[in-house]
């Protein structure tokens, strides 16, 4: 289920997920906010699910409520892996 979890791999998976949600890859950066990318709570719920499937990291609702930027999401997943 979980492979070697590197920040690079997590970033790759997060970016792929964001693109699948319709976000514009040209705007991706660690500093980009989900609001800027038009990524909403449904997208973040799905991102949580992807994190669990890819890295075995279960994220609950409270975990996700505090994240604002792409970097926040990457760091959260890496820290829980």
């Amino acid at each position: 289920m979980s492979t070697t979890v590197t920040a690079e791999r997590v970033e790759q998976v997060v970016y792929q997920a964001l693109e699948s949600f319709g976000a514009d890859p040209s705007e991706f950066s660690r500093e980009a906010t989900f609001e800027q990318l038009d990524v909403d709570s449904l997208d973040l719920a799905e991102l949580s699910q992807i994190a669990e499937e890819e890295f075995g990291v279960p994220l609950k609702g409270d975990d996700v409520k505090g994240i604002r930027t792409v970097g926040d999401a990457i760091d959260l997943i890496v820290s829980r892996a």
């Binding site: 449904l42 719920a45 799905e46 699910q49």
Partner: protein
């Protein structure tokens, strides 16, 4: 988006009545059907047999829908047994425990809310995980004309079914852009075990159609709402009641 190949639909309470009719109709429409039962294994087996005899695919799973811990395993088993993604769900399992509000005890309230409403929420939460990722889903909640319409002696049932309609509306808006639709059907008086003994002459006169409905008539509506053709129908309730609530 169209239904994926080998799509599986889970129908709770599929051993008899409306659930069994839904299972047959959905299988006829090409779904692989996993139907659940709690107390009627023979009825469940008969329904599976009927479906397979008609060339469809089905399996029966024992499930107490009020067992929160069993929901995840049931959805997983449905997909694993039938070999396809669980992208359909019919929340049909229901019970009644009638009494006037002034006399209704806590157990009668709890069992009806747990079975008819909370179970539907838990199953929906679980099934949505796969549906959202698949970018396709069809959820149909079997509500009732009771709830939107009063029926003395069924305040608990009315609360659960009204709650189910409210849940349907909001949950539907949350996932609509993922190609997942969530709708309800609201049957009136349908000839099943649940209504045996309830239908008397007085009740029939209140129904514009002057007759009870048949399970197959509700199943036809569920079949439509679960179909590819109903992809732009979501958050709504289709009343199947012979005009009772009109």
């Amino acid at each position: 988006m169209t239904r994926p190949d080998d799509a599986v639909i889970l129908v709770t309470g599929g051993s008899r009545g409306i659930g069994a009719a839904c299972a047959r109709a959905l299988a006829d429409d090409g779904w692989a059907v996993a139907l659940t039962y709690r107390t009627s294994p023979d009825g469940a087996a008969r329904t599976v047999h009927d479906i397979e005899g008609a060339g469809g695919r089905a399996t029966a799973l024992e499930l107490d829908v009020t067992d929160a811990g069993a929901i995840g395993a049931a959805v997983e088993a449905a997909g694993a047994t039938l070999g396809g993604p669980v992208v359909g769900l019919v929340n049909n399992a229901g019970v009644r425990a009638d009494d006037l509000a002034v006399s209704l005890d806590d157990d009668a309230w709890d069992v009806v809310l747990d079975t008819n409403l909370t179970a539907a929420f838990r199953l929906t939460r679980q099934a949505l995980r796969g549906m959202v990722r698949a970018r396709f889903g069809r959820i149909v909640n079997v509500a009732s004309v009771v709830g939107p319409r009063a029926n003395a002696g069924q305040a608990n049932y009315a609360a659960a079914k009204s709650g189910l309609i409210g849940f349907t509306r909001t949950a539907a808006t949350e996932v609509a852009r993922r190609g997942v639709t969530i709708n309800a059907v609201a049957p009136g008086f349908i000839t099943t075990d649940m209504t045996a003994g309830i239908l008397q002459n007085g009740a029939l006169e209140a129904i514009p159609a002057r007759r009870a409905g048949e399970p197959d008539e509700v199943a036809a509506c569920v079949r439509f709402l679960a179909s590819d053709g109903a992809g732009y129908v979501t958050g709504t309730t289709l009343f199947v009641d012979g005009g009772l609530s009109a």
